[in-house]
């Protein structure tokens, strides 16, 4: 992407996000839009957003690929890796060379390298003193991220944070845990729907997710809603 094309894309993305935030929106759809945009405009391979559940365990809420391998890399990062480090410290963690990581990250390192990732970046999703999750960027090349990419990525993380905290805040007393739990609970039915479609159409689960998204987009429905109707067999993808 050229510099101008990139700036244009950034501006239009933030316009879309601002628009989403002023109307009724689904949190998961918003998070999905964010990770997809990250992958598109930043110089990275994959992106994922992890949110803390009510026990403080970080869980993948949205990711650019729904391949279980990628999700596992991110979950391992949330157990012992840059992701948990960023979450606990509330700071951005840059890992320009995954191979040079501390030994306590061994499982993450082995799995990430096995998937072809060389460097990683984890940014906190913070509102004042509270960190609610992290934005994780994975890259297949070595080195630190471009400064401008870091600024843009943090802006995305901030938008995601606001998007989650603002969502249904008026009707729901705005309890932070409740908001996060809503987003994470939506994952359950999406995973189930992926399984239904994967089995119905005999395709891999990541392909199943793509089909579900395509359907949701073309029918202008929230992912979560389409997923729920797939699981109850009201919708059958052909």
């Amino acid at each position: 992407m050229t510099a101008e094309g990139r700036e244009e894309r950034l501006v239009s993305t933030f316009a879309t996000l601002a628009d989403a935030l002023t109307t009724d929106y689904d949190v998961l759809d918003l998070l999905q839009l964010l990770v997809d945009t990250c992958a598109e405009v930043l110089n990275i391979s994959e992106a994922g957003i992890l949110l803390a559940d009510s026990h403080g365990t970080l869980e993948v809420a949205a990711s650019t690929s729904e391949s279980n391998r990628l999700v596992e890399v991110m979950q391992l990062s949330a157990e012992a890796g840059p992701c948990i480090e960023s979450f606990q410290s509330g700071r951005a963690i840059s890992v320009p060379d995954i191979q040079q990581s501390p030994s306590r990250w061994q499982v993450f390192v082995t799995t990430a390298l096995g998937e072809g990732f060389q460097s990683a970046y984890a940014l906190p999703m913070r509102l004042r003193d509270t960190t609610i999750g992290t934005l994780n960027l994975m890259r297949t090349q070595l080195g630190t991220m471009d400064d401008r990419d870091v600024v843009a990525a943090q802006a995305f993380a901030d938008v995601a944070t606001i998007g989650i905290l603002q969502h249904r805040a008026l009707e729901d007393s705005g309890r932070l845990n409740a908001q996060l739990q809503i987003a994470l609970d939506s994952r359950i039915v999406i995973e189930q729907a992926k399984g239904v479609v994967a089995s119905d159409l005999d395709v891999p689960v990541e392909e199943a997710f793509v089909r579900i998204r395509t359907y949701a987009r073309s029918h202008q429905l929230a992912l979560r809603e389409v997923a729920a109707r797939i699981v109850t067999r009201e919708i059958r993808l052909g």
């Binding site: 993948v60 279980n68 979950q75 189930q192 399984g195 994967a198 119905d200």
Partner: protein
């Protein structure tokens, strides 16, 4: 292992006594017994309306034959309005319960999807032809009881087996969806089936989920286990 006369203390929560009573209050039968059978949960009467009802089931455990076993293995009701005609089918069983004065017996399978859990026995002392409506009603109640029994048994039997890990949970949810598609059951039933199968195999839900996702396990083709003692 089984007492000849049921004393009502099977180790199951006491509210499960209601399980068999439901059948008697809904249908024109004299007694009912709900039992688990076979490998999955072991053979045990978990609810019976009378000592005779319990004894009818226990005889079947000991002899390895009878309407309960046939209903469970065939996944369909066994309807016998006149036991006197069926010496050929279960000679030892009929001989054993002769003193009870039972004429008609109806057994309905307890299963969730392909998982064989046990059976419910209904009996009358006078001869009874069970109407189509009553058969239907009993089958539906048996279906409901199946889930209840399996759920109760699994609560105490299974640990969280690694499901505190988000990645494991994710795989279990995906596998649940695949079982919904395989068996055309609800997500709730699908998860129960995975859990029950994990328990039967002595594996974690995560391991079973992985087999389903890898297409190495399809519950539609799950070999139906005869449920031998």
């Amino acid at each position: 292992m089984h007492e000849t006369e049921w004393d009502g203390s099977s180790g199951y929560p006491s509210q499960n006594t209601d399980l068999s009573v439901q059948f008697v209050s809904l249908l024109p039968v004299d007694g009912a017994a709900v039992s688990t059978l076979g490998k999955l949960l072991g053979s045990e009467t978990i609810s019976a309306t009378s000592p005779l009802a319990a004894r009818i089931d226990e005889m079947q455990f000991d002899l390895g034959e009878g309407p309960c076993w046939d209903a469970m293995r065939s996944f369909s009701p066994v309807i016998e309005p006149d036991l006197g005609d069926r010496w050929d089918r279960w000679p030892a069983f009929i001989d054993a319960i002769r003193s009870g004065g039972v004429t008609s017996i109806f057994a309905f399978p307890l299963h969730v999807g392909p998982l064989q859990i046990g059976a419910v026995d209904l009996f009358t002392q006078r001869r009874l032809e069970l109407s189509a409506d009553d058969t239907d009603r009993a089958a539906r109640l048996a279906e409901k009881v199946s889930r209840e029994v399996l759920r109760t048994a699994l609560i105490s039997a299974t640990s969280a087996d690694g499901l505190e890990r988000p990645f494991s949970r994710r795989l279990v949810h995906q596998a649940t969806g695949m079982v919904v598609s395989q068996l055309e059951v609800s997500a709730e039933d699908a998860e129960l089936i995975i859990k029950g199968h994990a328990f039967a195999q002595g594996k974690s839900m995560m391991e079973i989920a992985q087999q389903v996702i890898d297409r190495n396990l399809n519950f539609r083709h799950l070999p139906v286990d005869g449920g031998d003692q």
